[in-house]
Symmetry: C2
Subunit: 334 residues, 2 copies
């Protein structure tokens, strides 16, 4: 489980091509992450390096560096902050895996599966606090403040999601509010930081923040679709956890809202049954009704809206890469 | 369980008398904590307010405000930072209760017992990130940096403690290193912040930081003793969790290190047995051997060393209160 099989080589190649304008900077961010997470205590060191292998696509650092490059020059503050956002993202993954009782992520055993839930809770805290410390090494408090606020909103979103677990009546609006908080706030924050620290005007920085938010929402819908119908081998992580945890996602909400009372009750019955018994029937219903396809199209539409935000930027390879990410996040299998 | 019974009224009174010089400021800190943790989402709001009731003695805010007053004047930065250190302390308590599977803290049901482990993990994260955001509202990064570094060391200490769980051979040095990190780093940080933001010389700030560190170590040893021999009703929390979790604490280390090989093996056998069977025998051995008493004296000696650090300060009611806390932390039953 420690080596990623070649099955997701395709997606890595497509992503690498998009990220060409910032590959040397991303490599520097990776080196900084490795260095920051080195620890004299062998146990702490092993855990931190393990978490580093588990986090994967570097989407958030890439967004931060690409927005910086699209606006102006990448500087050392950007590289620090790119490491910070990735560390925070990794912390949330480590804690998510406890919540979801997931066993594998990116073809690597999760911390809770390999060590324990206790270790996962503490490792997540260790990564959070390290990230905050790193942000505070910049000259001004803007980075800390932006990251502190965004991360707090992420946690609030996760709490609201936990409270809504098992709630078949979760509204579309509440679903989107939760996704905007738990996922899109951090991608929005990455874009804002990239633009701000490259000297962008406030209006440009705000548009790029909106790009990041919409991209994050599209990404999450695609992620939810992957959890429903994806291939575990390609995705490199445990799937089907949303249904098992009775989490309402967009396809289910879409299907529910078009059913009459009798059919809606039948759907609710399936949703509340043990998932090993109802999964096949639910997936078939979602596919046959067109709800999966509709959610896919909705994600694509939101990603397109995100890309339209990029009109505030002059043409550049970095801008083209940001536009390419808009396609990428909704068309991936991992 | 929602009201603290009068059994710990005595300890509250003793503490209130010590804190007299800063009571109005502590009340302001409490008001700020309440206001900061108010949330539009009813579920998030209920959780945050619950955590606020569960954290208790306000030792860390008190240390921060008393060192400030002992050096100069308490200002608004101090009140903000006092709320920050209490919020961080509360976050670590919420996560500790998950790790320890504790059910009651300060006569209030723990978050994991009343809601779930998932909710506890996320609530702790919510409190951590809120605290970091709040620290970043100060003008300079000194507060964020000091708190980020200290909190990271706390987490590292907790991770090392988890790794050492069940390790009968844990050395005295490692025990003290873990306690310095997981408990004393935050009390040291509170004193440093109080002194720094009151304009203390670097040398005075450093002595007060050492006072906070030694006070924290003494406090933790006393806490470990309480967990072994305390009264759950008075303490207001689940006790006996250290033995149940096979955590080596100072009395056990002291006893182990004075035994011959045969007796040490017998002790190890008891330590590794299910605790319901061995607890009475272990406690009797610890008491009869004088190991409990010796650990108590060691805590008192460390607290006295902390108080000696206060010689850098001119006499004042705040200095007297800091000295009083040196007595208080080792002579309490809650």
């Amino acid at each position: 489980m420690s080596q990623a099989p070649s099955v997701d080589a395709g997606i890595q190649q497509r992503l690498a091509a998009l990220l060409a304008p910032i590959l040397p900077d991303l490599a520097e961010v990776d080196a900084r992450l490795r260095a920051e997470l080195r620890n004299d205590d062998p146990f702490v060191n092993e855990l931190a390096q393990h978490s580093f292998r588990m986090s994967g696509k570097r989407l958030r650092p890439a967004l931060l560096l690409l927005t910086a490059r699209a606006v102006g020059e990448i500087n050392d503050d950007h590289r620090t902050l790119a490491a910070v956002v990735e560390m925070i993202h990794t912390a949330t993954l480590v804690h998510d895996d406890v919540l979801d009782e997931a066993e594998v992520r990116r073809h690597v055993a999760t911390v809770n599966a390999r060590w324990s839930n206790q270790t996962s809770v503490l490792l997540g805290d260790y990564l959070f606090t390290h990230a905050f410390y790193l942000a505070s090494t910049l000259e001004t408090t803007f980075g800390c403040r932006t990251i502190g606020r965004a991360t707090n909103i992420v946690c609030e979103g996760e709490l609201r999601q936990t409270a809504s677990s098992g709630d078949f009546s979760l509204s579309r609006d509440d679903y989107f509010a939760i996704v905007e908080a738990k996922t899109a706030e951090l991608t929005a924050c990455a874009c804002l930081l990239g633009a701000h620290y490259a000297g962008a005007d406030a209006s440009v920085a705000e548009e790029l923040q909106c790009y990041g938010r919409e991209l994050g929402v599209a990404f999450q819908i695609a992620d939810d679709l992957l959890d429903l119908e994806g291939d575990e081998q390609a995705a490199g992580k445990s799937l089907g956890t949303d249904l098992a945890n009775r989490k309402m996602t967009l396809p289910l909400i879409t299907l529910r809202d078009r059913l009459d009372d009798a059919e809606r009750n039948r759907l609710m019955g399936l949703f509340e049954e043990p998932i090993v018994e109802s999964q096949a029937a639910l997936l078939e219903w979602l596919a046959d009704s067109g709800a999966l396809q509709e959610a896919r199209e909705e994600a694509a539409g939101i990603a397109a809206a995100a890309v339209a935000r990029l009109d505030v930027l002059a043409d550049s390879p970095a801008k083209a890469a940001l536009a390419g990410l808009g396609q990428f996040v909704v068309k991936r299998n991992a």
